[in-house]
């Protein structure tokens, strides 16, 4: 889905502005990352986008149609929230099947087609072997995959992820980032995700929206937005952008934060 957002703002009330003047354009099938300091409103922006909340101002166009309603947006976007709270104890298959809820009446049960779609989603993210496990008994990384499969099951072709890697260890972060990339490159999904790690954003995203608490938000191709100068300006952190080529396998991009230097104690042990 082609998305265009112009001068969007959100405020709980006139005194409590969360963000304003945010704009971006994303083509179908592209990946957009969203980075910015804590409290700049990343989660709120994503919730507004998918229709859980309403924008206070601005213009949203989806495939050229302006001003889709909140409930239309909840159906057009697949949303994967942050991992939080006590996980419910249903089986993985049951959790994924709940993604079909919007196609079911209040009294109906999943039909064979719903079950087939859920199985395809589980296969796509590689959790078929977990189908009968309890959601609450899984690790953080596995839960994240279940929620992704659930979002795929809704049939939405644009997926929105709120910090999909923040609760994960290194290898699960790596796998999740690569899954987002494959969903876009191999399956054609449009992907929007927020992250605290500029490396993830730089590595897979085509476009990046860098949010700032003040009016300094920037949007553009990831390689132009995620630069040493911009990260210094927004986060106040020194960093080094790294490009790693591997013969015949392509390129990895990354950002190495340069932590505050200090003098190591050099005294001999003992």
């Amino acid at each position: 889905m082609k998305i265009s957002l112009t001068d969007a703002s959100f405020a709980y009330n006139p005194e409590q502005l969360v963000f304003r003047d945010l704009s971006f354009q994303l083509d179908s099938g592209q990946i957009m990352s969203l980075i910015g300091p804590n409290g700049c409103g990343k989660t709120t922006l994503l919730k507004c986008l998918v229709g859980i909340r309403s924008f206070s101002g601005g213009l949203l166009e989806l495939d050229g149609k302006a001003g889709p309603s909140d409930s239309d947006r909840t159906r057009l976007f697949g949303y994967v929230p942050q991992l939080a709270g006590d996980p419910v104890p249903y089986s993985v298959e049951q959790m994924v099947l709940l993604g079909r809820a919007r196609f079911m009446g209040p009294f109906s049960r999943p039909d064979p087609q719903d079950i087939a779609i859920a199985e395809t989603s589980m296969e796509m993210v590689g959790i078929t072997r977990l189908a009968d496990r309890g959601f609450h008994s899984l690790s953080g990384g596995e839960r994240q995959l279940v929620l992704i499969a659930q979002a795929l099951t809704t049939g939405a072709t644009t997926l929105v992820f709120d910090e999909p890697t923040s609760a994960l260890d290194l290898v699960n972060q790596h796998d999740t980032v690569d899954l987002l990339r494959r969903l876009s490159h191999d399956e054609g999904y449009t992907v929007i995700f927020s992250s605290h790690d500029p490396s993830h954003a730089l590595h897979i995203s085509d476009q990046c929206l860098l949010m700032d608490k003040t009016d300094g938000s920037r949007f553009g191709p990831a390689e132009e937005v995620i630069t040493e100068a911009e990260l210094r300006r927004v986060f106040g952190v020194e960093s080094q952008v790294i490009r790693h080529e591997r013969k015949g396998q392509g390129t990895s991009m990354g950002v190495l934060p340069i932590l505050k230097p200090y003098f190591k104690k050099t005294g001999k042990a003992g």
């Binding site: 998918v50 909840t74 496990r133 008994s137």
Partner: protein
Amino acid sequence: MEKSRGGFTAFLVITTALLTAAFIAALAIGRYQVAPRDVVRILMNPGAEDLPGELSLAQSVILNIRLPRVMLALFGGVGLGVSGAVFQGVFRNPLVSPGVVGVTSGSGFGAALAILIFGWGPMPQLFGFLFGAAALGTTWYIARRSGTNSLLVFVLAGVIVNMFFQAMISLVKFTADAEEKLPSIVYWLMGSLSSASWRKAALAIPVILISSLVLVGMRRRINLLSLGEEAVRGLGVDPRGPMASVLIFTTLSVSAVVSVAGIVGWIGLVVPHITRMIVGPDHDRLLPASALVGALFFLVIDTLGRTISAQDIPLGILTALVGAPVFIVLLIRSKGRWVL
């Protein structure tokens, strides 16, 4: 943990067998003992007129006195068991029951007020529903306005609403005529089916039956609602419609039980927990199973209440005596970490 389909079928078979046995036993025992064989014979042919003298008396005792009471106990248990499980699910909160969030005392006040004004009849049920809904609405409003989604605020709000309606109930008692209405209101409020009749059963059972069928029918939706409001919206479903239906039908069911059986605490809290330990947390199985366990629990308690001493022991006392220890064990076993 996931229970196998075979395990669940076994559970259904065993509970149904126990229910049948309890049903016949409840009709057989009492101050006038009837042999179980004769109970079955009378039930098979309720219209028989040519029974020998002794059986003819048994027929009248069973059909006119015990059967309406047993039916009300069964359906009271279904209503409280299902609503309790539904509440714990949609509020994502294992400490919640119709009693805890104030529906029971709100209904109790409404029904008591109606008894005071109109006497027994359909009005206590209607008033019970209206005030039960008002109590639930108030609890929900307080919890939402506090801006937190916390378990603690919701339960505390319920405690406050409960105390308010308990005070209102006391006010009704204070106003009631001490000779006639007060004793009947007090006795009914402690939880009692001793005044059960076919007339009361005809008013309450259809409401409980339909509400419970609707709730059990919506069990997949209740799984969905238990994910929380934002997650439900994120999946493209507006939670307000199903949530409103769920709350209306639970309140209808609970207020119908309260209007005939008074305030019977604990069943709505304890039955879903016991059932969850057996069949697991998925509402697909938990709701039908809670209906069966609730019916069995209520029937056994009511039958004990009317047989272990010469006088009927109020249900509220017995359910608390059984429910409190069970709940303490559950609380300790959970080690403070509740899983729905």
